[in-house]
Symmetry: C2
Subunit: 519 residues, 2 copies
C-alpha cells in the first residue's frame, strides 16, 4: 500500500491546519506539478510547535544517553521500513535516480546510529573535574565539575540537494536529538512528500520510545514567511541550516536582530577548488580529467562539495585535461536540476560565462566546462562564485607563486583538493598552509564529493562556507553545536549528573585534574 | 625608577601617533584627572596594526606548542618584574586597594602559565583520526584526520573591573596567543596606564621570544570610534569582550553587519541570583548574611559574578538576614566606583529603587540593600536588571513553586547559587534543572565571586550573560573560541601537523577510530 499523504504540518503528535496557503512539489524530469497539495503551516501551527518544543525541552533534558540512543535507532529502523516509499518519492521530487536514495537512506540511518552509539557511550559531553583542595593557600580550592548539556529547541532548515541525509531526519536533526534538544524542522519546499514520509518515521519513533510530545515538529511552507518567524521565535535556541549563501545569511541577519541572539549554524556556499600540481598533471592527466568530471557532475553537480574550480598548470597538459573534460561533457546526457529556480540560476550564470543553454524538457540542463587564465581569474571576481549545477571552471596557471596568490584570494571553502606527486606535495608547503586557514577539509589525490561520516570529519570552514569555522555539520563533533556548558561548584554527589558523579558510574572518558581517561 | 609612560598605542614593535585625540585616567578616590595624557590611536594606527596582525598570523600559525608556551611564560615573568608599577598604577586608576592587584597579578600570571602548560602538552587540539579501510564496500574508506588550529587575528576588548586579569594580558589574550592567534587589544579608557605597563611586558616578551612583529598591538581610545572600526576590520577573525550588556550587544551588532561575520565572544551582564532554601535560612542565617554581604561588596560590588539578587524564605529568618545585611551596609565605608559613568549609573538605579545617595568625594557611593516580595519581583521587570556596584536585592518568597516560577523567568546568568541543607537540596531537583538551562555555573553553599581558573571552570551562560552558551572565557576551554577545525583526507604523513602524524610524536591524547588515549 503506498504512503498516504496528509499534506499538513506535524505539530508534535498532532497535525497542522488545512487552511494555510498550498503548494506542490514539481517533477524536475517533466517540470510538472506533482500532487498532493501541501498546506503551509499557519502562524498558529508555528506557535503551537514552539510551545510544545519548549515544554518537551525540559523533559528531553533529563533523558539518559541510553534513552536517546533508543530514539535515534528507532528513527533509523522506521526509515528503513519506509525505504521503498522514501526512495521513490525522493526520486520523483528531485529527478535523481533511485540508487542515489538507496545510498542516501543508508547514510542517514548510519548517521542516526552513529549518534546513538555516541550518546550511549556518553564520553562526548567533555566531562571535566577539578577536585577540591581545602588546604590551598591563600584560598581553599573548591570542587569544580562541568560538561556539555542540551541547549534547548533547535530549528532545522532542510537542504534542497539532500532530501534525506541533510533534511528532516538528517545530520542536524540527529545531532540535536543526540544532544537532547527538541527539533522543529522547516521542510524544504522542493520535496514536501519526502519530508512527510521522513517526518512520519520520526513522529512514530517519538511515540514508540515514550518521548514527550513536542520532541519533534515539522512545518511545511510555500514561502519564506514561516521559516523567518521560526528563526525569530524566542523558544528557539539554535538554528541549523544547509542551503544557499543568500538563505543562510538571511537567517543570520534575522537572528542577529532578536532580543536574545542565538547561534545559526549555516552551511552555505563553496566552490571547492582543486589544485592540480605539475607532476600529477604530467603523470595522471586522463585519470584526473575523468575523476574531476565524475565529481563535478555527481548528483548533477548539486553537491555542496562539488569541485567548481580546477587550477591546472598551463600548456599541453592543461589543453589535454580541458579537452577531456569538454569531450566528457558533450557526450553526457541532460541533467534535470532540483528546482526551476536552480535551473534558471544555472542558465543565467552559464550564459554570463558564455555558454547559452539549449531548450530542454523539465528542469534539464547540459553540463559545461569553462576556461580562464589565472590572470583573468584574479581580475574577475564573478569567476569565484558558486554555480550550482554540472559545471566547473578550469584555470590555467603559471607557477607556484601564482597559485599561492590565487589561494590567498579565495573566500572560505568547505574543501580544497590537491593532486600532486610526492615531490609536488613536498614543495607545496606554502599552498597547504594557506588552505589550512581557508578551508574545512583538504583532500589529497581524491575528490571532495563524498563526505565520510566519522569522528574526525569536518564539514565546515570559514564564511561563507559556514557561519562558524569552529564547528562541523557532519561527524560526531556536530553534536557540540547544540549544547551549552554547565558547571557545578561544590555540588553534593547526589545532585550531579551521572557523567560527573565521583564514581564515574557511566564509565565515560573524562578529564580529572588534567588527566584524561576512563578513570 | 618609576615606569615612564609614552602614552601612545603599540603598533607591533613600534608606537602609534601622537596626533590622536587625548584623554586621561581619573582617580576614583578624588575624581581628579591623573596624568599623563594618552593619545587615542588614529585610523592609520588601526590599519597598520591590522595589517601587521594579518602578516604575523601566518607565522604564528606554525609556532609549536613549546614556542607558544615560552611566549606565555615570558609574558608572565615580565609582568611579575613590573608588578610594583602595575599594582600601584592599577590601584590609582581604579580606587581598589593594592592587595587586590597583588592577587590579580598572581591570577593573571597563573592563567598565562596554565595556557603555557596546556599548549606544551598539546592535547587541547582535539586531534581525531579515523584510519582508512581500502576494502570497505560499497566504497573504500579514506584516512581522515582533524584538529583545532588558530583562527587568525583576535580583537580583545578590556574590562573596566579587571584591569589586569581580564584586560591587556588577561584571559582572552592568553587564550588567543595559546591558540596561535595575534591579538589587537582595545585598551579600556579607565585604565590606560595599567594597560601601557602590561602592554610593555607583552611587547618585550614578543621580541625576546622571537615572535613576529604584529603578534601584539594595543590601541588606546578616548571614545568608541576605534573599537568599532577594529571589530569591523576584515583582518579580525574573532572578538573577545568583557563589559556591559550595551557594549557587548553593540559589538555583536557591528559584527553581524560585516561582509564576513565573525564570532563575538562577549561576557556581558549577570545578576547572579542566590537561592537561600528554608533549612539553610534556619540553620545559618548569620553566616549567610555575612557571606552575602562580603560577596556583593567585594571589589565594591564591581564583579561580573556579584550576587545582585537573593531569594530568602519570607518570615522571621528573612527579616533577620535583611536586618544583618542592612546593618553591615550602614557600618561599611564608602566605595569609590571605577568611573564617573559607573557611579552615575549606580546613583540613578539605586535612586529609582528608592535609596538616594549622599554626596561624596570622587566616585564614592554607599552600599545599599533593597527589598521586594516575590510578587513585586515578578511584576516589575526592572528589578531583574544588573546594578553594577555595592548593592543587592533581597526578595522574600513563599514556597518552592514560587521560587521555580521566579527561576524560570530569569534571563541567562553567569552563575546561580544555592544555599541549602542536605534535605533542602534533595528537594530542589526542579530548581536545579531550571538553573542548569539558565546559567553557566551553579554554586552550592558558597558565593559566586571568586572564579577558579582551571580545566573545568565555566565562566559563561546564555544571553545576556554571554553571547555563546557553548563557550567559556575562563579556564582552559577558553582556547577553543579562537580556533577553527581543519581536516586532512588521505594526506601523506609528511604534510600532517605533528599532532596528527601516525606515530603521535608529541604523545598527545587523541581519538583514533573512536578510542581516546595517548595511543
Amino acid at each position: 500500500m503506498p504512503f498516504e499523504f496528509k499534506a499538513t504540518s506535524f505539530i508534535g503528535s498532532s497535525r497542522g491546519a488545512e487552511t494555510g496557503k498550498t503548494f506542490t512539489a514539481f517533477s524536475p524530469e517533466t517540470g510538472e506539478a506533482v500532487g498532493p497539495e501541501f498546506h503551509s503551516a499557519t502562524k498558529d501551527d508555528l506557535i503551537r510547535s514552539c510551545l510544545q518544543a519548549s515544554i518537551a525541552s525540559n523533559l528531553l533534558y533529563r533523558k539518559s544517553g541510553q534513552e536517546k540512543a533508543e530514539l535515534l535507532r528507532r528513527i533509523a529502523s522506521n526509515l528503513e521500513e519506509r525505504k521503498a516509499d522514501l526512495v521513490e518519492r525522493a526520486s520523483l521530487e528531485t529527478g535523481l535516480p533511485n540508487a542515489r536514495f538507496e545510498g542516501e537512506t543508508a547514510r542517514t540511518c548510519g548517521q542516526l546510529r552513529m549518534f546513538a552509539d555516541l550518546v550511549e557511550d556518553g564520553s562526548w559531553v567533555d566531562a571535566r573535574i577539578d577536585t577540591a583542595d581545602p588546604d590551598r593557600k591563600p584560598l581553599p580550592k573548591p570542587d569544580i565539575r562541568s560538561m556539555r548539556k542540551a541547549l534547548g529547541p533547535v530549528a532545522v532548515f532542510c537542504a534542497s540537494n539532500f532530501p534525506i541525509a541533510f533534511s528532516v531526519a538528517g545530520g542536524d536533526t540527529a545531532s540535536a536529538f543526540a544532544a537532547g534538544c527538541p527539533v522543529i524542522v522547516n521542510a524544504h519546499i522542493a520535496h514536501p512528500g519526502t519530508s512527510e514520509i521522513a517526518a512520519t518515521a520520526i513522529s512514530e519513533a517519538v511515540v514508540e520510545c515514550g518521548f514527550p510530545d513536542g520532541t519533534f515538529s515539522l512545518l511545511f511552507s510555500g514561502d519564506y514567511e514561516i521559516g523567518s518567524a521560526l528563526a525569530a521565535h524566542p523558544a528557539i535556541k539554535a538554528v541549523g541550516f544547509t542551503g544557499s549563501r543568500a538563505g543562510g545569511r538571511a537567517l543570520m541577519d534575522i537572528v542577529a536582530k532578536r532580543v536574545e541572539p542565538i547561534p545559526v549554524f549555516a552551511e552555505m556556499s563553496s566552490v571547492n577548488p582543486v589544485f592540480v600540481l605539475p607532476g600529477a598533471a604530467e603523470e595522471r592527466a586522463d585519470e584526473i580529467a575523468e575523476g574531476l568530471f565524475a565529481s563535478f557532475t555527481l548528483g548533477y553537480g548539486q553537491f555542496c562539495t562539488k569541485p567548481g574550480l580546477a587550477f591546472i598548470p598551463g600548456g599541453e597538459r592543461y589543453a589535454h585535461i580541458v579537452d577531456s573534460l569538454e569531450g566528457l561533457s558533450r557526450r553526457s546526457t541532460k541533467s534535470p536540476l532540483l528546482t526551476s529556480g536552480i535551473r534558471d540560476s544555472f542558465i543565467a550564470k552559464t550564459a554570463a560565462r558564455g555558454a547559452p543553454q539549449t531548450v530542454a524538457e523539465g528542469f534539464a540542463v547540459d553540463s559545461c566546462v569553462f576556461e580562464a587564465t589565472a590572470e583573468e581569474f584574479l581580475r574577475n571576481r564573478s569567476l569565484r562564485e558558486e554555480v550550482f549545477g554540472p559545471t566547473t571552471l578550469a584555470v590555467s596557471y603559471g607557477d607556484a607563486d601564482e597559485l599561492e596568490k590565487i589561494a590567498e584570494g579565495l573566500e572560505g571553502q568547505l574543501t580544497a583538493t590537491i593532486h600532486g606527486t610526492e615531490e609536488d606535495v613536498a614543495e607545496a608547503g606554502e599552498l597547504i598552509s594557506i588552505l589550512e586557514k581557508k578551508v574545512g577539509r583538504i583532500v589529497f589525490n581524491g575528490y571532495p564529493t563524498g563526505v565520510e561520516v566519522c569522528h574526525s570529519m569536518v564539514h565546515g570552514g570559514p564564511y561563507p562556507a559556514t557561519s562558524f569555522p569552529g564547528t562541523t555539520s557532519v561527524g560526531t563533533r556536530a553534536i557540540e553545536r547544540f549544547t551549552k556548558l554547565v558547571c557545578y561548584q561544590d555540588a553534593p554527589d547526589s545532585v550531579l549528573p551521572d557523567e560527573l558523579k565521583q564514581g564515574n558510574p557511566l564509565g565515560i572518558v573524562r578529564m580529572t585534574d588534567g588527566e584524561t581517561g576512563r578513570d
